[in-house]
């Protein structure tokens, strides 16, 4: 009889995975809503996209992807018993998350400063709403990374039970995944 070597469930807590898929569903409604709103107001969206700086979007992409890689590497390091290495990776990953927030915060602040707000038009509403919604998820994710770093430092995962660490990591990767669509959709696809 053939026995599958695949795991039955994803790494981490199943409830967190259900939460992750629910979050992805919510974000997908915004993405699809954006695309269809653009279909109705193409000129407005084209003009709105001209007000964005895609280089800042790319910088933030690099921050999130690097942070995501470090978190995945930290889980592996913890698994192999390298606690100090895992801690270092988590600390840098958190700092990159904070760097993302700094850039995005600047971007949103600048957007308001030059006179655009949620009432300007549909494009600016969706840009600010989706950006701020994702921003809040990054804030939560960065908080989760801090908690994970504290727990790794305390040696909470030394017994090989990594479910908490894997759950937090999976949440952080979800934040990453959302940005992989949000960035090209709003900044690049014209």
């Amino acid at each position: 009889m053939l026995v599958s070597s695949k795991l039955k469930y994803p790494r981490g807590d199943l409830a967190v995975w259900a939460f992750i898929y629910a979050e992805l569903l919510v974000f997908s409604l915004f993405f699809v809503g954006y695309a269809f709103a653009r279909m109705l107001h193409p000129a407005e969206f084209a003009a709105g996209q001209q007000t964005l700086n895609p280089v800042l979007g790319l910088v933030n992409t690099v921050f999130l992807l690097t942070s995501g890689w470090l978190v995945a590497a930290a889980v592996l390091a913890c698994e192999s018993g390298s606690r100090s290495l895992a801690l270092k990776k988590l600390v840098v990953a958190t700092l990159l998350g904070l760097a993302f927030l700094a850039v995005k915060g600047y971007e949103i602040g600048h957007h308001f400063a030059v006179g655009y707000d949620l009432d300007t038009n549909t494009f600016h509403f969706l840009y600010l709403f989706m950006g701020s919604f994702h921003f809040m998820h990054v804030v939560l994710g960065a908080g989760v990374l801090v908690i994970l770093a504290v727990k790794v430092n305390r040696g909470d995962y030394s017994n090989g039970e990594l479910r908490g660490l894997e759950s937090g990591a999976a949440y952080w990767h979800m934040v990453d995944i959302v940005w992989m669509i949000l960035f090209p959709l709003v900044y690049l696809m014209r």
Binding site: S4, F36, R38, W69, A170, I177, I181, P184, M189
Partner: protein, 91 residues
């Protein structure tokens, strides 16, 4: 699999993700725009998400059902976005 090899695999995936991201902005800076370019960017986004899901979230180690949920989500979302872009009148 040895941890060292897995760490190296993660580095390769990370570099591939960075490269794919640079290509997108590079295209915009080179003056690419329009429907075909937008659909190509959607395809790249889908690929990047699969890389993150399979390697960073370790979904490649899990039964197909869990991977199909992610793949299904990517296909539905990018598919609907593509439909909206295809039917958007040119400015």
């Amino acid at each position: 699999m040895k941890t060292g090899i897995r760490q190296h695999q993660l580095i390769i995936v990370w570099l591939a993700l960075l490269l794919l991201s640079l290509i997108g902005l590079g295209g915009v800076k080179a003056g690419f725009h329009g429907l075909v370019f937008s659909l190509a960017l959607l395809l790249v986004a889908g690929l990047k998400i699969q890389l993150i899901a399979d390697w960073f979230m370790s979904l490649r180690e899990v039964r197909m059902f869990w991977r199909l949920i992610m793949l299904g989500w990517v296909l539905v979302v990018t598919g609907l976005i593509a439909i909206a872009f295809i039917f958007t009148p040119p400015v």
